[in-house]
């Protein structure tokens, strides 16, 4: 590490607060570009490390069940061809209208959980509990719609009313469950990272108990609720994939735009962001920080609950044991998107595609689909370390522009803003101070 380097970050750490306040607007614009660059670089690096994982695991597996793709005498055979794995991954995600439909189905679900996490992040809260909020929201939807169905006439209008009621029920239950860690954080100083993780376990256990003991569908052995009436489900539309409705995807995109507008264009959004970025300034400006904590966690939980509602109404048709880990994937989506609601859309598409493709690599190449889980973790790891890219930039001397762009300062002001990337990142996602 060079001396120049060290000095830089000491400076930046000292005055980042003031600078941040002065140029909040400009930095946000600049950081959009830099975040995209960091995310792309993180993706490329994950693919590179993923290639190593594929090669090594192929080596471990040998002797190979089929012809190895390469072998080194004395070392062994590489059973998996990384290029082939990535090719099948992409083809599996986009290769046919059916595959595209599966990818878009996953994308749609991830948009909601990604937005849920992003809203909390923006308020300076680390909501790891999206999964639990989604699980209970889904249960609220499943039970609510089944309960309300007899009161509503069948047919299109009744279906729309029921679906709307289901979404509302999901949002309500998810919101209440999200508000709990918010209140614990605000009024009891309980660290939300830990409480939300614990509440995930509680939510799953609670839902399982409720369904298996009280609300179980008597006609099946599985732990699941009675199915919602067919007219309440979102009809499959476009691409002919059973569990995907283009209308829901459009709704998700609209929600992303709405959340973006809320954060940028409303007083509430401004207060929410400031309390996340500069809690002291927000408090000084008259924001009730405690109430804001509860509100933003409730909002985050409500969006997660809507995600649960979509899972029930678009995919499953009922609440069932073993809801996929959409909430945890939402964390990945949001981090990759730099917690930007609009960025959540492409990030969801990427992880949706990985999910769609993961089935194909296991089915066609017998490469375990958990590979995608490794890639997911690697992406997060690399996104967390913008400094890494900056150092590479310095090492290979790509000049100031490349250096600056990779690490996070706007090109306008390369001298002083150099280290704003890492500094801001740690400010944004503060989890440390508030244990």
């Amino acid at each position: 590490m060079s001396g120049d380097d060290a000095e830089d970050s000491v400076d930046g750490g000292g005055d980042s607060g003031g600078r941040f306040g002065r140029t909040l607007g400009r930095l946000v614009d600049a950081s959009a570009v830099e975040r995209i660059l960091i995310s792309l670089a993180a993706l490329v690096l994950s693919v590179v490390v993923g290639t190593l994982v594929i090669l090594v695991s192929g080596l471990v597996l040998s002797p190979c069940p089929s012809t190895p793709f390469a072998s080194i005498p004395g070392v062994g055979a590489f059973c998996y061809d990384p290029i082939e794995v990535y090719r099948v991954l992409v083809v599996g995600a986009f290769g046919s209208t059916y595959n595209l439909g599966i990818t878009l189905k996953e994308t749609t679900l991830l948009v909601f959980t990604g937005l849920s996490v992003a809203v909390a992040f923006r308020a300076g809260l680390f909501n790891i509990g999206t999964q639990g909020q989604l699980v209970l929201g889904a249960l609220g939807t499943g039970l609510g719609v089944v309960w309300a169905a007899p009161f509503v006439p069948a047919g299109l209008v009744g279906g729309v009313v029921l679906a709307a009621f289901g979404l509302l029920a999901g949002a309500l239950v998810g919101g209440v469950w999200g508000a709990i860690p918010g209140a614990l954080k605000a009024y009891a100083d309980a660290n939300e990272v830990i409480t939300t993780i614990m509440l995930n376990f509680v939510a799953t256990g609670l839902a399982l108990t409720l369904v298996s003991e009280v609300f179980k569908d008597p006609e099946t052995q599985n732990i699941q609720t009675r199915a919602v009436p067919e007219h309440a489900e979102f009809p499959p539309s476009l691409l002919g994939v059973q569990d995907f409705s283009i209308f829901v995807l459009i709704g998700g995109i609209a929600l992303a735009v709405g959340v973006y507008w809320m954060l940028r264009g409303t007083t509430f959004g401004y207060d929410l962001r400031t309390s996340g970025e500069q809690p002291d300034a927000a408090e000084y400006g008259g924001v009730d920080a405690k109430r804001m904590t509860v509100t933003s966690m409730a909002l985050s939980g409500a969006i997660a609950g809507i995600g649960g509602a979509v899972y029930v109404l678009m995919v499953a048709g009922y609440w069932q044991e073993g809801i996929p880990s959409l909430g945890f994937d939402g964390i990945t989506v949001s981090i990759l998107a730099g917690n930007n609601p609009i960025g959540v859309l492409p990030a969801s598409l990427l992880f949706g595609a990985l999910k769609g493709g993961s089935l194909a690599i296991e089915f066609e190449l017998a490469v375990p689909q958990e590979l995608v889980g490794i890639l997911r973790g690697l992406v997060i790891l690399f996104v967390a370390m913008p400094e890494f890219f900056r150092m590479i930039g310095i090492r290979y001397d790509y000049g100031d522009d490349a250096t600056v762009a990779a690490d996070g300062a706007g090109p306008e002001d390369p001298g002083t803003d150099r280290d704003s990337g890492p500094t801001d990142a740690s400010d944004d996602d503060e989890g440390g101070e508030d244990r």
């Binding site: 060290a6 009891a188 830990i194 614990m198 375990p368 973790g377 997060i380 967390a384 989890g431």
Partner: protein, 360 residues
């Protein structure tokens, strides 16, 4: 030390109170038809049962080792929330290594070798995390999350590559160590002197951690590195090295915890869902938080959570037909309740921040 002891004691008292409330609520919830006294009698007989206490100690092993590791990392200034991932990695590695060495039926020596390899691999993982946090100034919370997510993908992935499924085959576990004569003492004997080697290791580790942190120069460095790195730098100690040591220790200790669970107690790696670790690393974090970074307090916290975990097995054995999922959430509810009661823990003031020496 005398200054630090009081808050810890009070903290534990509050925690115990929280636990009692949670337990009472749970009992009230679970057995509306039964008078509480009946249950209390059952609980009392369970708790003084040596078998119960032994099994609690075994369940304490992974939680407490993760907690001890977390103390060293966080006190040195690096918050390691990736403990769960380190436990997963070492649990898997211990099984894979022992099974590979012993051809599916490893003997005790091969089990111990597998154990050692797992601890090594976990430490290497922690080294990776340390480099990412210290050299590349990564956000510690996100990087820790990444460690967890990578482990959550890597362990089942590797299981499938090796065994064709996410679970490993079952192999043997460590034999218990029996201390002659002492093992004959009623209650204490079977609990403390006829136990898994992992339990002995844990008791030694708790005492050693306490000693290192409170009585040695290295302990003071760790403390200063998290509280006032600049001062430590001024007296000529390299903050980066101390932080590396802290994080590596967290990997080492978590490695013992994860391997201790997999080949110390279960004899299998289970990789489905949240894996066999199932949140124990997270509970470990909570345990050291309300033990206020004191190894003895963290052990106490881990023991309490483990006892709740063991209670659910016991209640079912005794014949109470309660939904297992509901009992299963008691430890997690307790963590939330305890955290709400304990509230803000004063974390080391420089934890989570990068430190750059000005003279480098």
């Amino acid at each position: 030390m005398s200054v630090g002891r009081l808050p810890t004691g009070r903290r534990l008292l509050v925690a115990l109170g929280g636990l009692a409330v949670a337990a009472l609520l749970a009992v009230e919830l679970l057995f509306p038809a039964n008078p509480i006294t009946d249950i209390a009698v059952v609980l009392a007989t369970i708790v003084v049962d040596a078998n119960y206490v032994s099994s609690v100690l075994r369940l304490t092993v992974p939680i407490a080792f993760a907690a001890l590791g977390g103390i060293f990392a966080e006190k040195s200034g690096v918050i390691n929330i990736g403990l769960e991932g380190l436990l997963i990695i070492s649990a898997f590695t211990s099984l894979a290594a022992a099974a590979a060495l012993g051809g599916g039926d490893p003997n005790q020596t091969q089990l111990w070798l597998g154990f050692g390899i797992a601890v090594l691999v976990s430490t290497l993982f922690a080294l990776l995390f340390a480099i990412v946090c210290i050299e590349f100034k990564a956000d510690q919370i996100i990087a820790g999350l990444a460690v967890w997510l990578i482990a959550l993908g890597l362990a089942p992935f590797a299981s499938k590559v090796i065994w064709g499924q996410v679970n490993s085959p079952t192999i043997g576990t460590f034999d218990d160590w029996t201390v002659p004569l002492l093992a004959e003492i009623p209650f204490v004997g079977p609990v403390l002197f006829d136990a898994s080697p992992m339990v002995y290791l844990l008791l030694v580790a708790v005492a050693a951690s306490w000693y290192v942190l409170n009585r040695t120069a290295f302990g003071r460095w760790i403390e200063a590195s998290g509280e006032n790195p600049k001062a430590l730098d001024t007296v000529g100690v390299d903050v980066r090295k101390v932080r590396y040591a802290g994080v590596l220790l967290s990997g080492f200790l978590s490695g013992i915890g994860g391997a201790g669970l997999a080949i110390g107690r279960v004899g299998q790696f289970i990789g489905g869902g949240t894996t066999m670790i199932n949140g124990r690393g997270w509970i470990g974090i909570t345990a050291y938080l309300f033990g206020n970074y004191n190894p003895v307090g963290a052990f106490g916290g881990s023991f309490l959570f483990a006892s709740l975990d063991a209670l659910q097995f016991r209640l079912q054995q005794v014949g109470y037909n309660v939904p297992s999922d509901l009992i299963g959430i008691i430890p997690y509810v307790t963590v939330v309740v305890v955290l709400a009661f304990v509230g803000r823990t004063r974390i080391p003031s420089a934890a989570g921040e990068h430190y750059e020496s000005g003279e480098e």
